[in-house]
Assembly symmetry: C2
Homo-oligomer: 197 residues x 2
């Protein structure tokens, strides 16, 4: 049987990380019922983003300007660089307003299983930035997984010879988190690094 236009659209939507074939089908039916109010605006929004959004040549962020709005913002602190695994982590940190420096998107973490070595990551670009005299601190904000922490140590070793502070995010109990839902490792760390109140 020949594939219809609807089948092709379902296939395309089902490739998105959060959707499977069944939810893609529901999404298509929903869009077909709201063609003017939702399907056309969605097509326009996708086209706008596809045309205008590019990776920033300096940090790897996705933005409409080149360099991105963070790299070109004169109010950001150029002495701090925060290394993240992916653009999604950069956006998460931006939403938290925790950091006012610049970013460096690594594009992944070292992983023997997935065959990702140092050459697959944007490590060269990071070293180039750090050798710039302006940079005083590199904050390694990689995931607290085995691969993430291996990568963090690898980066710390490489950057050791530069005259900068190298730091990482602290571990502990998430704000608003219940203790009995937490894993043992986090609880142990939270205990060991307890602070005066």
């Amino acid at each position: 049987m020949q594939k219809t236009e609807v089948d092709i659209l379902i296939e395309q939507l089902a490739k998105l990380p959060a959707l499977g074939p069944r939810s893609a089908r529901r999404a298509v039916l929903y869009l077909l019922k709201k063609k003017e109010t939702h399907m056309m605006p969605l097509i326009r929004a996708l086209t706008e983003v596809a045309e205008k959004v590019h990776p920033c040549p300096l940090c790897g962020n996705m933005d409409t300007t080149e360099p991105c709005s963070i790299c070109s913002d004169p109010k950001r602190d150029r002495s701090q660089i925060c290394v993240v695994q992916d653009v999604s982590d950069l956006w998460a940190l931006e939403r938290s307003h925790a950091f006012n420096g610049l970013y460096h998107v690594l594009g992944g973490v070292l992983s023997a299983l997935d065959g990702i070595g140092p050459d697959e990551l944007n490590i060269h670009g990071l070293i180039g930035k750090v050798q710039n005299k302006e940079v005083k601190e590199v904050i390694i904000a990689l995931p607290a997984t085995v691969d993430g922490q291996t990568t963090a140590h690898y980066l710390a070793e490489i950057l050791e010879k530069e005259d900068i502070i190298i730091s990482g995010l602290s571990h502990g109990v998430p704000v608003g988190g219940e203790l009995d839902y937490l894993d043992d490792g986090t609880l142990q760390t939270a205990f060991k690094t307890r602070r005066g109140l």
Copy 2:
């Protein structure tokens, strides 16, 4: 802060039934990374469907032809009409190859809570079809919920005076289903309507 193109796209995607803001953000990042291999094909597929797919004026199915490929297929049995709540149910029945007649999409079921009365549903169109001498059976394939069965009884009452068979889907144990996961109502029905082996 002004909304960026990316924010607008995330908002649009988050309105889809299966996605929330977080998964929409992940989907946007995924699309941005695969612009040529996935984002552009998705835009093309959406545009194709938006331009070409319309509701069938006869049955309510969504298709590129008018009337739809089912209504215009000379091999389908025109003496049977299957009444379904929504296009998704029509597609599910088509995938099962259980039925070779024509369909009628009601567009919902009666619901006092949601304020859906007979005038909100395509009941008038169904009566018109049934009064056609060709139709011999109406199969009411509405969901086995209270609202679905109320609607089924309402339709059965209206169609009673026509000279046709009115039938509904049988209830029972789903094929491949474990008994201890089933609800009591289904088990009771499956027992009452047990059949010789």
